[in-house]
């Protein structure tokens, strides 16, 4: 498990050697649909999933606490 995570982290770190995208080239990346997070409008959808499922977290949002849920 730890080995797999380390490999994944190493692979991602190596991505920093990709071609650097300049600010003026980020027009597509700045599209609102390209944001690397759950959309704000999904806040309550995520809430009910946290209540109904055992797993939570690792989505850039809240990872526990605040309710009597699992």
């Amino acid at each position: 498990m730890i080995k797999k995570i380390s490999l994944l982290l190493l692979s991602l770190c190596s991505l920093t050697s990709c071609v650097v995208v300049k600010e003026y080239e980020k027009v597509y990346l700045n599209d609102p649909d390209m944001i690397l997070a759950a959309k704000k409008a999904n806040k309550f959808v995520t809430s009910f999933q946290v209540y109904r499922e055992a797993a939570s977290g690792a989505n850039g949002g809240k990872s526990g606490g605040g309710c009597g849920c699992n």
Partner: protein, 487 residues
Amino acid sequence: MKKIIIVIVSLVSFVGFSQTTNKEYTKRVLETAEVDILSSFYSQDGDNAAVTGGIGTEKLTDLATSFTVSIPLNDNDVFTVDATISAYTSASSSNLDPFDVSSASSGGDDDDDDNDKSSATNSKSLVTNSASPWVESSGASKSDVWTSLSLSYSHSSDDRNTILGANASFAKEYDYTSIGVGGSLTKLFNEKNTEIGLKANVYLDTWSPVYPTELDSYLDDNQNLNDGHFEGVDILDQDGNTIDKNGVNVWSPFKNTLVDNKSRNTYSLSVSFSQILSKKSQISLFFDLVKQDGWLANPMQRVYFSDRDNYYIGNASSISNYTSPTNTDVFQLADDIERLPDSRLKIPIGVRFNQYINEVVTLRTYYRYYYDDWGIQSSTAEIELPIKISDTFTLYPSYRYYTQTAADYFAPFEQHTSTEEFYTSDYDLSEFNSNQIGIGFSYTDIFAKRHIWKLGLKSIDIKYNSYKRNTGLKAGIISAGFKFVMD
């Protein structure tokens, strides 16, 4: 010589102009105050209510609304306030007191003292002919309101390569209070192509426990089946015969203690790593480490043991039909509330990858692996395909698949034994998989031309999600979000 001086002066003034221009065009982190209003309606139904031991109606509706205001304090600092209110009605939690009595499972009592709850109990009269896991009670516990207030502050460095954040939150529902604080640090490198984030949060939560009424009343009434809650009420055995309450074979809870530690603390550490892969794709990795301690079980949830005799209140002829939804008039007295370890370690790891396919379609994907030391492992895979149908309208079809293994302490109705240390019949901790299909649309007006008072409407998001679990639970949620910018 004069010409040279003029040229130098011109150049200096040009440089000065350029510097002034650069400073003037330093982009503010947030140009103007923003207001987000989000509202949702959630509805579910199923046959595995945890409050009634893993069988019974799970019918529940919830109406929630949040207001989020983000205010730029200056070029670099943003202050955000979020207030949320969520009101639910639940058939299963109404069966905290299935006997439909006055001031039964709510009413301002914290259920840990001696007097006020008992006096309320003594004044009520049991309605024994309509109690069943499949019938919603009209007791006070059928509804509750959850409110939350959170404040956050972020500071960005002048070069926008460092972002510091702090947050505090407070949440309250009838039987639960939460206080949270946290901080975050984000660093951007590599011409803002790489981002690393660290976030830490602590939640100090407190139960004001509410229990299944028969367990609570039995202890409040000094374990006397001839007094208080049980006075004048017939208790039936498995064969439907009325028991002698002064005899040897009588119903009693498995344990005479309920919640002995009202705190539930959560400590979380989150690490994120984001990388631009090309002009049209980027990826992000999330890693959380979450430690919880305290009372991690839900004191509202009943458990029934297979190695203890069963006792009922209600119609004797319906006992043989107890687990069927056609049972409307008999209720089995609980053996205990669920008991779970006082510590839990959760490790979720998530990956998000987005690809801008063309000016019409964008691909958004997400995968999460989750592990915890209660024996649960899960996988979540999600895909969303935003489709721009015009300059202002976008469609959002989405699909999500979720699967989890059961917690070590889960067993269905009447399948636990009293020799176990920990037990729950909460199907949220069972083995299952679920499918969620969603469709939504958004309207965006980047110029915010439509106005309400001093607020310009920037976007509207409406989305519906349908959720189905292979345990039979079905749910639907519709959300509507409105974003305004201050003039």
